[in-house]
Amino acid sequence: MGTLIKQEWYKLAHKNGTWIAIGVMVAIQVFVAVMGRLYPDVALLKPEVTTIVDYYGGGLVIFIAIANVASTVSMEFQYGTMKQLLYRQYYRSQVFMSKVIVAICHFVLLQAIASVVTFALAAGLNGYDWMAVHQGRSNLAAYGLSLAGFMLMGLMLLSCALMLSTVLKTNAAAIISGFVGYFVVEIASSILTALIAKWEFLKWNPFTFLLVGQQLTSDSVRSLTHLSDPVMIAGSLIYTLVFGLIAYASFRKRSI
């Protein structure tokens, strides 16, 4: 298994896109931080707004991770390399798990880079006070809570993208679905919560659980989803697992 994980890392590390994406993400963070320093009165550029979303690099973390996970299985079929992975002493389950582990590690690593850059920029350029308390929570605690919710939402989106890329045999549909999921969370959540208000049972649909990050940091979202925080956390993890299992079942059945 260790060998398989190393091989997946090797492939990921040798794709130009991996490094370009990280470069673009950090460049956007630096750009937003610099703009925040130059124009401190612009509401969208204030550190209280930008640090919580990693100077807008946080959005890119999930996009980059989705693009990677969507291609991790589909590229092996596209390049005809799946046979080479599977004829060795390893089993399909091991090959699949190695890809999942590397995709999760990649996601965590991207977020770690975004967080480190955020802390560095907040200290260096914006003089942001992480210990200052707003609405009963320190800025650092709010950031941590937001991060935890973002990771839960991200894992669910990644498992959904993996499932779609494996079932539909293409990474394009999976990437689009990931973006749509992110769009639902960021923009269309008000439509979703309105539908839940009208039809209670709709609260169990997977899109509701994508709002876990928002609910953990905002009390108002709880009343809109009609679900408690523990239920939201457990639900998002269960959907992540279900999507992952469907992806594995599809991967097992794929003919070589």
């Binding site: 090797y10 492939k11 040798h14 130009n16 390049y79 005809g80 046979k83 004829y87 060795r88 390893y90």
Partner: protein, 303 residues
């Protein structure tokens, strides 16, 4: 000498259509077995089954005494393969492909050895997306051989290779076989396959219709001799007088000799007795291509 690969009464169907019918054969250590058959005969299916890539309906496969199936892969630790076409990551160089799949033990030496043997030095550090068909094929072969496996499965390995590369591959196969590696190779280039194969398996419609050594294959078809005399008319007269059966092919006389026959001796004696000068005598055994074509012709005749 022990058996490295045993295929025992292998059955396989796709969507209700049976493509392998009790396929039965073995490959000995250090032997090169050629698997030949028309398109759709089931060659790639056998190879995929041996590599545990597809489930089988009946029978069994063992590599070095260990069973292989879609859920049992331990025996594949010492197996290298190239099936159908080489799988290539366009964003990696050739060397990176080999580093990716080569075992850590003696990795650099093993990579250098196979790169040199296949003459890939000039482009091994170039991204594989820029490779030609032949370069990709060599890289696929290199990946199959880099870990010095005990058993190698090669499906149409000569595809896209130039004559020099075909000769290099032939030399590598013979060297590795001499060192104890076994090969199962399918190829449509029968003239090349017979230069490296020790044994031959002829597959048709999912049945092994012939399983023999190359030597026995040549013997079973008999031997032909072509004699080119100085004077064809004198030679014909001499052979007719001595009651030797022959046919004519261009400026030469062709004798067909079975195991018990002494046609060559009788012909040479008659020619020398009559003072006919002989320019050359060539011996030709029945080759793999002739055997394969004879099987296909017989099949057409039965149909």
């Amino acid at each position: 000498m022990s058996t490295i690969l045993t295929v025992d009464h292998l059955d396989k169907s796709f969507s209700g259509r049976q493509v392998l019918h009790g396929v039965d054969f073995f490959v000995e250590e250090g032997h090169v077995a050629g698997l030949v058959g028309p398109n759709g005969a089931g060659k790639s299916t056998i190879m995929k089954a041996i590599l545990g890539l597809i489930p089988i309906d009946g029978g069994g496969i063992e590599i070095a005494g260990q069973p292989v199936s879609i859920t049992s892969h331990q025996a594949l630790r010492k197996v290298g393969a190239l099936i159908e076409y080489p799988g290539i990551y366009p964003f990696l160089t050739g060397r990176q492909h080999l580093e990716l799949f080569a075992a850590k033990h003696h990795q650099a030496d093993n990579i250098k050895h196979i790169v040199d043997a296949l003459g890939m030095g000039k482009y091994i550090d170039t991204k594989a997306r820029l490779y030609s068909l032949g370069m990709k094929q060599k890289l696929g072969i290199a990946q199959a051989l880099v870990n010095q496996p005990k058993l190698v499965i090669l499906d149409e390995p000569m595809n896209g290779l130039d004559p020099q590369a075909v000769k290099d591959l032939r030399d590598i196969i013979r060297d590795m076989a001499a060192a104890g590696t076994s090969f199962l190779i399918s190829s449509h280039i029968l003239s090349e396959l017979e230069k490296v194969a020790d044994d031959v398996l002829i597959l048709n419609h999912g049945h092994i219709v012939r399983n023999t050594s190359m030597g026995q294959l040549a013997e079973s078809g008999g031997v032909t001799y072509q004699i080119v005399p100085d004077n064809l008319a004198q030679a014909k007269a001499a052979l007719t007088l001595a009651n030797v059966t022959f046919t004519l092919e261009g400026a030469g006389i062709v004798l067909h000799e079975n195991a018990e026959d002494t046609a060559l001796n009788a012909a040479l004696y008659a020619l020398v007795q009559q003072g006919v000068a002989i320019r050359s005598v060539d011996r030709k055994a029945r080759d793999l291509e002739a055997s394969f074509l004879a099987m296909v012709q017989a099949e057409k005749g039965e149909a």
